[in-house]
């Protein structure tokens, strides 16, 4: 192709907006998650699983997610979260003005999530107990249509004795497992926690690959 033609094409490209196919729509992520998600973005219509043993930093991983790039600018709903430290979320950069906390819907979970995915870009569920595999399948196809994202947090808590009973019975597109590997700032009765090292690893169903990153929070 000669230079003149190339030039005029690049000139024209400035006037034409790109046409995106539905399947090609993504939300750009920021921060640490951008480094482990393929191309730094997450596909709309995905199901994301946050999992870990007790105290493994899954809550911090969720905060990383909610404060990340394009996710932060969208409305998100938190379903069934008790004891969430909103101050920590705020300190992490989550835009609390766009985060609505929905009380535990019990057996109506599937119905509530279905309604929420119509208006909220991100719906995060804590330990989904009352959800059948057919309901999970329905929700998965619903988010594909609505172009929203369902995130599920599966983690118990030793201190209150609650186990991560709720397991997502359906398929998922990404899973993020977390663990906390250390603290700095403490020294036997002096100082306070300055930093925690959180390692996140992403398993993607599509690529099958696992990518990890260690972040200081």
């Amino acid at each position: 192709m000669d230079i003149a033609a190339e030039k005029s094409i690049s000139h024209l490209s400035g006037f034409v907006s790109p046409q995106l196919l539905a399947s090609e729509r993504y939300v750009e992520l920021g921060g640490s998650l951008a480094q482990i998600f393929p191309l730094g973005r997450i596909q709309l219509g995905s199901v994301v699983l946050f999992e870990g043993e007790s105290n493994s930093g899954a809550t911090s991983a969720v905060f990383e997610f909610l404060s990340s790039g394009g996710i932060r600018r969208n409305w998100s709903a938190l379903v069934g979260f008790e004891n969430l430290g909103f101050l920590a979320a705020f300190e992490k950069g989550v835009d609390l003005g766009k985060v609505v906390s929905v009380p535990d819907p019990g057996r109506d979970l599937a119905q509530v999530v279905a309604v929420l995915t119509e208006a909220f870009r991100v719906v995060t569920i804590a330990n989904p107990r009352f959800i059948s595999s057919s309901q999970a399948r329905n929700l998965t196809s619903r988010v594909r249509v609505n172009k929203s994202i369902i995130a599920i947090v599966q983690q118990g808590c030793d201190i209150t004795g609650t186990r991560g009973r709720g397991l997502w019975p359906g398929s998922y597109d990404y899973s993020i497992s977390s663990s906390i590997s250390g603290f700095t700032g403490l020294d036997r009765g002096s100082g306070f926690i300055r930093e925690r090292r959180l390692s996140l690893s992403l398993g993607s169903r599509r690529s099958g690959a696992t990518r990890s990153i260690a972040v200081s929070i």
Partner: protein
């Protein structure tokens, strides 16, 4: 290559949605309503055709003569044509949606620079300034009426011919009849226009009160109100604002204000300090409107996208078109809910078409530059961004979903607000989502970031999990003696074990921080308690925030 649009940096205006519906006064509005616009634009060549406009097999507009024959909007087309012989059915698609009405609305420009096309057939402008200039609202209204009549005759040559045959082109019953009204707010003005009334300032409420509830522009809400026994606008306006807000959401609250004569959708342009003007230079002068639109499309989308990303919606945009020979056409376009790229492009097209076909003002050469200057932007904090900024789903969608969810769950959903306090738990206030959504509060982030240095405030980051009910534990030394906090805030020993009282589980303490002392309930001397906080790191339960109070230990939070 298109120039990169600089990122818009604006201070968030101190603008509150709640303020606007609670406290603002309705602006004085002059409104012109062509009741039978579809029939005018379809150009049937008759003053009083027996016709209806229909789409999807349902009648949407009825001409005066057809109305007298008993046909109503909402009737099935098949039933209407069989009931009335000789009924002409005009397809909705055949109606000129383009710049025809813009040409009529142009007339208002002689009176005030800011015009809002409320709907096809309905246009409005600010009445306050011009009425002073013309010596009273009555004079202004009659001037506008005369100018409109002249314009109709000029724009529709058949209308001129008809005028010769029938002197009463604009009398009631003619499709050319129109109303001119002046009132507070567009809602009142539109109702007043039916009889060309001038409603004095401040009495809209009593003017609207006896009207039936179905006058509300939202039929769904009007139906519900009707079923609830609220039959007139006045009865609706008398309902408690907060109750309406709770039951019908933001949309209902706006309707409630409208019914009380307080439609605040303002036409007045606000001053914008930062220059957001975008100049689009076309690669060559273009004469055909659609090619101008095509070339502008990407830039317009980009510009509005950037605005939206920065949290703003443009309500009024000044569009300046310049031809190669230096002629200009300037026009303000307003849309209450904010201009999307599509709406703006449509309006640019109207402007181009009405300019290039205007016999007196038509440019002598193609258009070379399109300049877009936002005149009024509002905070779009409550507007959800889509990734490309082109689609948006508003507060309305979110509040509808939450209303349904709350009904299912039977409890209220809420939004967390941060306030200045000493402990992570007390710093968070959960407020019902309605309050937050409809009260565009001050930028919370900024205020809370400057939290005052409360004595006893945590100096470290806050725990990701804060327990609602505190979990009692024991802190023990290696030898198993209980650890307490002395009066001068020292630990009585080195923590080695932590035991959760409820489960009896014991874990090792690996590290611990210094103590933060704090007096709780200091304002009640007799009830005040000395508490101290400490962070500990355990081997199996992670890092915890622990409080000592009256000799007992409680876990307050978990650094998950």
């Amino acid at each position: 290559m298109s120039k990169k649009i600089p990122q818009v940096k604006l201070r968030r205006p101190r603008y509150s949605l709640f303020d606007s519906i609670e406290h603002q006064v309705a602006p004085r509005v002059l409104l012109v309503d062509f009741f039978y616009w579809p029939f005018i634009s379809a150009g049937s060549g008759e003053i009083d055709p027996l016709a209806v406009v229909a789409g999807n097999g349902v009648v949407t507009d009825v001409s005066p003569k057809a109305f007298r024959a008993g046909i109503r909007a909402g009737d099935r087309v098949r039933a209407a044509t069989s009931a009335v012989t000789g009924l002409k059915v005009i397809s909705v698609d055949a109606i000129d949606q383009s710049g025809l009405f813009a040409k009529i609305a142009n007339v208002l420009e002689r009176f005030s620079p800011l015009i809002e096309i409320v709907d096809l057939g309905v246009c409005a402008t600010n009445a306050r300034g011009p009425s002073r200039y013309f010596g009273g609202e009555e004079r202004l209204a009659s001037e506008v009426r005369k100018a409109m009549e002249d314009q109709i005759v000029e724009v529709f040559p058949p209308a001129g011919e008809l005028l010769n045959r029938a002197a009463d082109l604009f009398v009631e019953g003619s499709i050319f009849s129109f109303g001119v009204s002046i009132a507070d707010g567009i809602f009142t003005a539109k109702i007043a226009a039916r009889n060309s009334l001038l409603i004095p300032s401040g009495i809209s409420g009593s003017f609207l009160a006896p009207l039936p509830i179905r006058e509300l522009p939202d039929h769904e809400i009007a139906d519900t109100l009707d079923r609830l026994g609220v039959r007139s606008l006045g009865e609706f306006a008398d309902l408690d604002f907060d109750l309406v807000l709770e039951r019908f959401g933001y949309r209902g609250a706006l309707l409630h204000r409208m019914a009380g004569g307080l439609d605040t959708s303002s036409l007045e342009a606000a001053e914008i300090k930062e220059d957001l003007t975008q100049k689009i230079e076309l690669p060559e002068p273009l004469e055909v409107a659609s090619s101008v639109i095509f070339v502008c499309k990407a830039r317009v989308e980009e510009m509005l996208g950037h605005l939206l990303e920065s949290g703003y919606l443009c309500q009024i945009m000044r569009v300046r078109l310049m031809s190669e020979n230096g002629e200009e056409s300037v026009r303000d376009w307003g849309v209450k809910d904010g201009l999307s790229a599509q709406l703006l492009l449509e309006r640019i097209r109207w402007q181009l078409e009405s300019w290039s076909t205007d016999p007196r003002l038509a440019p002598s050469a193609g258009v070379e530059t399109v300049e877009l200057q936002p005149q009024r932007v509002v905070s779009a904090l409550r507007v959800q961004l889509d990734l490309d900024g082109s689609e948006r789903s508003s507060v309305v969608k979110v509040s509808q979903a939450l209303s349904r969810v709350d009904a299912i769950v039977g409890k209220r959903s809420s939004i967390a607000k941060i306030k200045a306090s000493r402990t992570p738990k007390e710093s968070v206030e959960m407020v019902p989502w309605q309050l937050h959504l409809f009260d565009l509060d001050e930028p919370m982030d900024q205020k809370a970031r400057e939290r005052p240095p409360w004595p006893g405030r945590l100096l470290s980051s806050s725990p990701a999990i804060c327990f609602d009910r505190e979990v009692e534990i024991l802190l023990l030394t290696k030898e198993g003696t209980l650890i307490s906090v002395s009066a001068n805030v020292f630990l009585s020993g080195e923590p080695y074990w932590m035991r959760v009282q409820s489960s009896g589980k014991r874990v090792r303490v690996l590290e611990w921080s210094s103590l933060w002392p704090m007096l709780e309930r200091w304002w009640y001397p007799e009830y005040s308690t000395k508490v101290a906080r400490i962070q500990i790191v355990t081997d199996e339960m992670g890092a915890l925030l622990v409080k000592s109070s009256n000799g007992r230990w409680f876990v307050e939070g978990l650094y998950d």
